[in-house]
């Protein structure tokens, strides 16, 4: 919808003051956006060069700039020597990279990537992910639509969790912090069975449990409470080996949010 391929049934959206509902604006918006659809949709009988050159021309990129951009991109993708080979013979990961390069041929202000690593093998997915991270480093605004939450967590600065409507928007870590009590994991040589009850009675932690040689604590304010907990444990004569904060994955965040939204 934002790339002006389909019209909204209601409401409106603006990209750089252009409205997606207006036909005249839609053409300008399409020129500002680089789109990677779910399926690469390359012309399989044509080479990588011709695929990219075609879109460069349609986006009105001058020939010199187009040639330079294609050469740089294909060289970076190790495809310059194979630029005239039909892309139908390339691997899925390669095709996906060419499709991303196609979305970038006109140096768009905004990049929309739809499931960029879907149906790719782990190696190809890694290649594509690294490529996206490179783009991110260059400062491009990238919007990724994905079901792969671990990927979103690794790549994105901001995530919008959507289930029929936008459930939550924010930084993945901040979302987790807002949803879950922060959890501390303390690894010790030996944990007395009464330790969870004893530490709960201190009033610093809301919940304590033992898993193997780890003491798992839900702490309300770790920055202030952790030193007190640690000094108490040391006073009890217990030997603390490691202390880490347990992190909640975006998947856990998503599931919890969806659960809450359903209530």
């Amino acid at each position: 919808m934002l790339s002006c391929l389909i019209q909204p049934t209601s409401g409106n959206a603006q990209i750089d003051s252009y409205e997606i509902r207006k036909k005249a604006d839609a053409q300008k918006i399409r020129g500002m956006i680089g789109l990677l659809p779910e399926v690469p949709g390359l012309y399989e009988t044509l080479g990588a060069y011709k695929n990219l050159d075609y879109y460069g021309q349609l986006y009105g990129v001058p020939k010199k700039q187009r040639d330079e951009s294609i050469q740089t991109t294909l060289t970076n993708l190790d495809l310059w020597d194979r630029r005239n080979e039909p892309v139908g013979g390339f691997s899925k990961g390669m095709k996906q990279k060419i499709a991303i390069a196609r979305a970038l041929i006109h140096d768009p202000k905004y990049i929309f990537l739809d499931e960029p690593t879907a149906s790719l093998d782990p190696m190809a997915a890694k290649i594509v992910r690294e490529y996206i991270l490179e783009l991110k480093k260059k400062g491009n605004t990238i919007l990724i639509n994905t079901h792969n939450l671990s990927e979103a967590e690794r790549i994105c600065d901001t995530v919008a969790l959507v289930k029929n409507r936008t459930v939550k928007i924010g930084n993945p870590k901040e979302l987790a912090k807002g949803l879950f009590t922060r959890t501390i994991s303390i690894t010790m040589q030996k944990i007395p069975p009464t330790l969870p009850n004893d530490i709960e009675s201190l009033g610093l932690v809301s919940q304590a449990q033992v898993i193997g040689n780890r003491l798992i604590l839900n702490v309300r304010n770790p920055e202030e409470d952790n030193p007190q907990v640690l000094s108490w444990l040391v006073k009890q004569g217990l030997q603390v080996q490691f202390i880490t904060e347990e992190e909640h994955s975006l998947e856990e965040v998503y599931l919890k949010l969806i659960e809450e939204a359903a209530r």
């Binding site: 790339s3 002006c4 391929l5 389909i6 019209q7 053409q27 300008k28 399409r30 020129g31 956006i33 789109l35 990677l36 659809p37 399926v39 690469p40 949709g41 390359l42 012309y43 399989e44 009988t45 044509l46 011709k50 075609y54 879109y55 021309q57 349609l58 986006y59 009105g60 039909p86 499709a99 196609r102 979305a103």
Partner: protein, 357 residues
């Protein structure tokens, strides 16, 4: 509309087309089989078995004579008897026992006269000898001669009655001409039906529609990329067919029969407009269906207006004269314009991308 964008779309499609060897094969083979091999298969046995050095009637072949620069003043409303004339124009004149060479004879009565290298129009002939003469819209009895090209005329000969083969010839020539109109109308069903729905099925349409290209530019590009190979292949077959038919027929008739004015006009006006009509209809169908096969099936119907013309010509209802070619080309041209604007009006990006049933 930015024609540059249409040009880019067309060039990409042609680049893709060049890689499809089987499609190119069928696009080239069909016109050659229908427009070259088939006519030769009909004519070669005929000219080898039947002596054609006698009067024969070829409807639809128009060859109008012209007077030399030093032609004499026309004879009008006269009665001339027992004289010889060279390079003279006669109108409403009665010619008896005369000898005429390089003349144009219009609306005259000709009796016991020898006419050589001339053109006769709207006249009445009797007991005359004709040699290398074109007879248009005339009637004649008790005639004799060689190399007579009769157009819309009713001529009766003394020595040689038109055989069954002679009577079939005009129909064959008309049929061959119609083949060259049918070919460019049929070929787009192979290429143009694929143009939009093929991209949709390959999933290459989504990124294409995400570019700033407008509907009109996209359609124009798709139309030209189907039109050029179709017409190119037709012209190739036409040139080959005409040259080979002339090679076969010249030894029998003495001069190249093809291409005449009717054939040239047909190829310059009628074939391109018929081709464009077919391309437009196929692209329109292609933008409305979800399957290439469905597009090809429906695309078959777009040849109907051309088939109707063919039936009209073969049944004798329509005589393909230059005027009729202008009329039909004009009609097809108007239809082409209407189809383009209609296709552009109903081209719906959203429906093409989202409708799969």
């Amino acid at each position: 509309m930015r024609w540059r964008n249409a040009w880019i779309v067309m060039r990409k499609d042609l680049d893709e087309f060049k890689k499809q060897k089987f499609v190119i094969g069928s696009i080239v083979a069909m016109p050659i089989i229908l427009g070259v091999v088939l006519p030769l298969a009909m004519f070669v046995p005929m000219v080898t078995m039947v002596p054609l050095e006698r009067p024969w009637d070829i409807n639809g072949l128009l060859q109008i004579g012209s007077l030399p620069a030093d032609a004499v003043v026309p004879w009008i409303n006269q009665t001339l008897e027992g004289a010889s004339f060279d390079a003279t124009f006669f109108q409403h004149t009665r010619l008896k026992n005369a000898s005429l060479t390089n003349c144009i004879i219009e609306s005259c009565i000709i009796e016991n006269t020898t006419v050589i290298d001339s053109t006769i129009q709207n006249s009445s002939l009797s007991s005359s000898y004709l040699m290398n003469v074109t007879v248009i819209r005339s009637e004649g009895t008790e005639l004799d001669g060689r190399f007579i090209l009769a157009v819309s005329s009713d001529l009766a000969f003394l020595k040689t009655k038109p055989s069954e083969i002679d009577q079939v010839l005009p129909m064959m020539f008309n049929m061959i001409l119609m083949i060259f109109i049918i070919i460019p109308a049929t070929l787009p069903t192979i290429i143009a039906t694929y143009s939009i729905v093929g991209e949709k099925n390959n999933r290459s349409l989504e990124p294409l529609l995400a570019t700033p290209t407008t509907d009109g530019e996209l359609l124009a590009g798709k139309i030209f990329s189907s039109f050029i190979p179709s017409m190119g292949s037709t012209f190739l077959a036409f040139t080959l067919g005409v040259v080979l038919l002339d090679i076969v027929l010249i030894p029998k008739v003495g001069y190249p029969l093809l291409p005449n004015l009717t054939w040239v006009l047909s190829m310059v006006l009628l074939a391109p407009t018929a081709c464009l009509m077919s391309v437009l209809a196929c692209v329109l169908v292609s933008s409305k269906v979800n399957d290439v096969r469905a597009a090809q099936q429906l695309g078959g119907f777009v040849v109907m207006p051309v088939i109707m013309l063919m039936i009209g010509v073969l049944a004798g209802f329509i005589f393909l004269s230059p005027v009729m070619i202008f009329v039909f080309a004009g009609f097809y041209g108007c239809l082409d314009l209407f189809l383009f604007f209609f296709a552009r009006a109903i081209f719906n990006r959203e429906a093409i991308l989202t409708k799969w049933s």
